[in-house]
C-alpha cells in the first residue's frame, strides 16, 4: 500500500519526493598472492649473440667445413632485482631467435633456458629445438610451457648443439644474432624476495558501477539529485611478507584520463610475517575508512576502467630475503556504509 501510494503520488512531475536509507553492503573483494604479481607475468629479455660467441671474427672473410658447437653461451639475465628464488608450477617460455649471422643456423639447434650458469644438462629447465634450418635474416619462434622448476635470481640462455653447414669466404658483421625472450610465471609455488627492495604490480581492468540503476542520475534517469554521504570501509588482511601501498585509479573509456582515485594518498597496509617455508605466521589486519562524496560516486559511475597499483616493499624485514609460498595473501574487501537520499 505504501509503495502504491508513493508510486501514485510520485506521478505528479511537479512534486519532488525523497527516500532516505542507511545501507550497509559489501562492494568488492579479492585476494592478492604471489601469483597475482603482474611483474612476474611479463618478463622480457633481449639477448645479443655476437659472432665471437660462435668463434667467428667480424669483418674478416672466414671459411668452415661446418660448425658444431655444444653450447653457445650461457647468456645470463637477472629475472628481477628483487627476486632471490622462484619455484614455478608453470612457466611460459616464449621467444624468437633472429639470425643476423651470414650463415644458416641448422636444424637441431636448441634454445635452452637454464637455472645456472653451468652448462650441464642437469640445469636445463626447458628448451625449444629448431626444426628447420634458419637462413640468414630469418627467425625462429617458439612457445613452450615449463612445469615444476626452481629458478634462482637469474636465468641463463644457451644455444645447445649449435650447428651450421659448411661455408666459404663469409664475412660476419658486428650485428649480432638476436634472442628475444619472454617469461611468464603462470603459477608459482614459492618465492624468496630480497629484503629492503621495492617493486610494483599494476593492472587495468574493465569497470562498471551499474550505470543503469538510476542512482546518481547524471543522464536524467527516473531518479535524480541523489545525495550520498557515508564511508567506504576497506578491510585488509595482509599475510604477505611485504608492506603494501595501494591506489585504485578510475579511468575514462579512453584509459587516458584519471577521473578519480579511491584513496587519499595511498592505502597503507603493513606487511605480515612468514616462516622459512613461506607459510604465514602473522597477518596484519586493518580497517581503513574512506569518506564518500556524491562527486566520487559520480566519478565511479562514469569510469570504465580501473587501474590498480600495488607497491610492495620489504623494508625493515630481517634477513636477506623473505619467503612466501602460494598460501600467503593480501585479502582486501570494500564495503559501503552509505546514507543514500534519493529525490524522485
Amino acid at each position: 500500500m505504501l509503495l502504491l501510494l508513493v508510486t501514485a503520488a510520485s506521478c505528479n512531475k511537479d512534486k519532488t519526493n525523497e527516500m532516505d536509507g542507511d545501507w550497509l553492503f559489501p562492494i568488492a573483494k579479492g585476494n592478492l598472492s604471489i601469483n597475482s604479481l603482474s611483474e612476474l607475468k611479463n618478463l622480457e629479455y633481449d639477448v645479443e649473440i655476437p659472432a665471437f660467441s660462435i668463434g667467428q671474427p667480424v669483418n674478416f672473410p672466414v671459411s668452415s667445413p661446418g660448425l658444431h658447437i655444444s653450447h653457445v653461451g650461457p647468456f645470463g639475465v637477472q629475472i628481477t632485482d628483487w627476486l632471490h628464488r622462484v619455484d614455478v608450477d608453470t612457466l611460459e617460455f616464449t621467444g624468437s631467435l633472429s639470425n643476423f649471422f651470414p650463415i644458416p643456423i641448422g636444424a637441431g639447434t636448441r634454445v635452452s633456458l637454464r637455472n645456472a650458469r653451468d652448462t650441464s644438462a642437469a640445469h636445463v629447465v626447458g628448451f625449444a629445438t629448431i626444426p628447420q634450418t634458419v637462413m640468414p635474416g630469418a627467425s625462429f619462434s617458439f612457445d613452450i610451457n615449463i612445469y615444476g622448476q626452481s629458478l634462482s635470481d637469474s636465468v641463463y640462455f644457451t644455444l645447445d648443439e649449435f650447428n651450421s653447414p659448411a661455408y666459404n669466404n663469409v664475412v660476419f658483421s658486428s650485428t649480432p644474432a638476436h634472442l628475444k625472450i619472454q617469461l611468464k610465471v603462470v603459477a608459482a609455488s614459492f618465492v624468496e624476495i630480497y629484503t629492503n627492495r621495492t617493486f610494483t604490480s599494476v593492472d587495468t581492468a574493465e569497470f562498471s558501477a551499474g550505470e543503469d540503476d538510476n542512482i546518481g542520475g547524471n543522464s536524467g534517469g527516473a531518479l535524480s539529485d541523489t545525495s550520498t554521504s557515508g564511508v567506504i570501509n576497506v578491510f585488509t588482511d595482509n599475510g604477505l611478507p611485504a608492506n603494501i601501498y595501494s591506489q585504485l585509479y578510475f579511468l575514462d573509456e579512453t584509459k587516458t584520463q584519471v577521473l578519480d582515485s579511491m584513496f587519499l594518498g595511498a592505502l597503507d597496509m603493513e606487511g605480515g610475517l612468514t616462516d622459512d617455508l613461506g607459510n604465514t605466521s602473522f597477518i596484519n589486519r586493518r580497517k581503513t575508512i574512506i569518506p564518500v562524496t556524491r562527486q566520487k560516486l559520480d566519478h565511479l559511475k562514469a569510469s570504465r576502467y580501473v587501474a590498480s597499483r600495488f607497491e610492495f616493499n620489504t623494508v625493515n624485514y630481517t634477513g636477506l630475503w623473505v619467503a612466501a609460498n602460494r598460501g600467503p595473501k593480501l585479502s582486501i574487501q570494500f564495503t559501503g556504509d552509505l546514507n543514500i537520499r534519493i529525490n524522485f
Binding site: L5, N17, F25, G30, E206, T335
Partner: protein, 458 residues
C-alpha cells in the same frame, strides 16, 4: 492490455479490506436477500413470493490493516513526500501480518424460485453467474523498513523479506437449493441450504504460506546472506510471467477464461425457533480451482552469501558492481497447481420486531442482526482475525429500508456502515456498506466498501 490494467487496477484499488465479500449490510436488509444468499445460502428464498432476479449487483471493498484514508490523502495531496511521512506510516505497521486486501464481486445474474408448499415457500432453488476478483498481500514491517530505511538498522540480524501475495479471478456458475423443514408440533423451522458452483478460473497468483526470503547483514556489512525459499505460481491463460533481475514482467494477457477450473460449495443451516427469530450457521467458499493453462511456476530454493564483486587483480578482469540483482533470479517450470477458495465460517442471528403483513409478504419494522465471521487463513477475503458486527434496519412500510451497522475485529479493526433500499412494486434498488468510516473519520478509517442492489421480485 487494457484488461490487464483493469485487472491490476481492480486488484490494487480493491487493495483493501473490510470483511470483504461478506457484507452485513446485505444480510440485515430484507430487500437484499438475493445478495445475502450469495454469502449464506440459508437466505435463499427469503422475502419474495415466487421469483427473484438480480442483475449486475457489484460489490467493492477497499482497505488495509495499517493505512488510513487520511494517510492516503496525505500522500496524494502532499507537495513532497518526505521520509518523515513514510516513517510515520511505517510506524503504524505491525511486526507481522500487515494485510492489503480487496474484493471486486459482481453478481451478474442471480435467479431464485420458490416452489411447493402451502405458502409457496417450502423449497427454493436458484442459479446464477458471478464474477469474483480477490487479492491480498501480507507482509512484515521489516520489508518496508528495509526498503525505505536501508539494511544498516538490521546489522547482525536476519530479516524475512518475503511478502505473501495471492490473487484470484474467476467466474462462478452456481445452482442453489434450500428446504424448509417445519415440524408439526412446533413453530420451529429448520432450513438447510446448499450452493454448488462450477468455477472457471481466469487468472491467479499464488504464494504458498511457507514462502520465505531472508537477509542477514553482517554487522560490518562484510557479507549478506540471502536465503531463498519461495515459489510463485501464476496462471494467466495463454501467456507467461517472468522475473528478470528486479523487474517483474507481465506480458500481454487476455482474460478470456479457461485458465483453470474447479468446484465450490457453500453450506448452511438456519434454525428459526419462532417467526421473526433466526440463527444461521454457514461455511462459505469450500473448494478450489485447478489452474493448468498458461501456468508459470517461479521458484528459488537456495542460499547465497554475497561478499562483493570478486576481484582477481588480473589484466583480463571485468568488474561489474551491479551484479547483485541477478541473485534472486528464479527457476521456471510450468506445472499445474491448485488454488483453494478463502473458506470462512459465518454465524448470524436476527430478530424482527413489529411484525407486519402485506400482500407481498411478512416484514418487520425493526430488524436486529448480529454476525460473526471467522476465516481459516489470512488469505484472499479470509482472515483469521474474527469479525463481529451488529446491525439495525428500520423498514418503512416495506418500501423504504434504512439501516446502520458497526463492527469490530477483522482486518481493519473497526467498521461503521449504512444501508438504504427501496422496493417499488417488483423493483428493488439499494446501496449497502459495511464501512463508511473514512467518510466520518478519515484518520481512523482503514477500509471502505460499497455494494449495490438492483433486482426484481414477484
Amino acid at each position: 492490455m487494457k484488461r490487464i490494467i483493469l485487472f491490476s487496477a481492480a486488484m490494487i484499488l480493491a487493495g483493501a479490506a473490510v470483511q470483504a465479500q461478506v457484507s452485513i449490510g446485505a444480510l440485515q436488509d430484507g430487500h437484499n436477500s438475493a445478495n445475502a444468499a450469495r454469502h449464506l445460502p440459508t437466505f435463499l428464498g427469503d422475502h419474495f413470493r415466487k421469483v427473484q432476479v438480480t442483475v449486475f449487483n457489484p460489490y467493492l471493498s477497499l482497505g488495509s490493516s495499517f493505512a488510513s484514508f487520511e494517510d492516503a490523502r496525505e500522500y496524494m495531496t502532499a507537495d513532497r513526500i518526505t521520509s518523515g511521512m513514510i516513517s510515520n506510516t511505517i510506524d503504524k505497521l505491525e511486526p507481522e501480518g500487515n494485510n492489503i486486501h480487496g474484493v471486486v464481486d459482481i453478481a451478474l445474474l442471480n435467479v431464485a424460485l420458490n416452489i411447493g408448499g402451502s405458502d409457496g415457500r417450502k423449497a427454493t432453488v436458484g442459479f446464477g453467474v458471478n464474477e469474483r476478483v480477490e487479492m491480498n498481500m501480507l507482509f512484515n514491517e521489516d520489508l518496508l523498513r528495509l526498503a525505505w530505511n536501508g539494511n544498516k538498522q538490521y546489522a547482525g540480524q536476519t530479516v524475512n523479506l518475503m511478502p505473501r501475495f495471492n490473487g484470484l479471478a474467476f467466474t462462478e456458475y452456481y445452482v442453489a437449493a434450500s428446504y424448509n423443514i417445519a415440524p408439526s408440533f412446533t413453530d420451529m423451522i429448520i432450513k438447510p441450504a446448499i450452493r454448488l458452483s462450477y468455477l472457471s478460473g481466469q487468472a491467479s497468483i499464488q504464494m504458498p504460506k511457507d514462502n520465505a526470503v531472508s537477509l542477514f547483514t553482517e554487522s560490518e556489512g562484510r557479507y549478506l546472506d540471502f536465503d531463498f525459499n519461495y515459489t510463485v505460481n501464476a496462471s494467466m491463460d495463454a501467456d507467461s510471467l517472468t522475473l528478470e533481475g528486479s523487474t517483474f514482467n507481465i506480458n500481454e494477457k487476455s482474460f478470456r477464461g479457461g485458465a483453470g477450473s474447479g468446484f465450490g460449495m457453500d453450506i448452511g443451516v438456519r434454525v428459526s425457533p419462532r417467526p421473526g427469530l433466526s440463527f444461521n450457521l454457514g461455511i462459505m467458499d469450500i473448494g478450489s480451482i485447478h489452474f493448468k493453462n498458461g501456468v508459470t511456476n517461479m521458484f528459488n530454493h537456495s542460499s547465497y552469501r554475497y561478499e562483493g564483486q570478486e576481484l582477481t587483480f588480473a589484466e583480463d578482469q571485468s568488474i561489474n558492481l551491479d551484479s547483485l540483482a541477478g541473485l534472486a533470479k528464479p527457476n521456471y517450470t510450468h506445472e499445474a497447481y491448485t488454488m483453494k477458495l478463502p473458506t470462512k465460517l459465518i454465524l448470524t442471528a436476527s430478530m424482527g420486531l413489529g411484525r407486519m403483513e402485506k400482500k407481498s409478504g411478512v416484514y418487520y419494522r425493526h430488524q436486529l442482526t448480529a454476525m460473526y465471521l471467522q476465516g481459516f487463513d489470512n488469505y484472499l477475503s479470509s482472515t483469521k482475525k474474527p469479525y463481529l458486527a451488529l446491525g439495525y434496519t428500520h423498514s418503512f412500510n416495506n418500501v423504504f429500508n434504512l439501516g446502520a451497522n458497526a463492527g469490530v475485529g477483522g482486518i481493519t479493526g473497526g467498521t461503521f456502515g449504512v444501508l438504504a433500499s427501496v422496493k417499488a412494486g417488483p423493483f428493488c434498488f439499494g446501496l449497502h456498506s459495511n464501512n463508511i468510516l473514512p467518510l466520518i473519520s478519515p484518520s481512523s478509517g482503514r477500509g471502505a466498501d460499497l455494494g449495490m442492489l438492483l433486482g426484481l421480485t414477484f
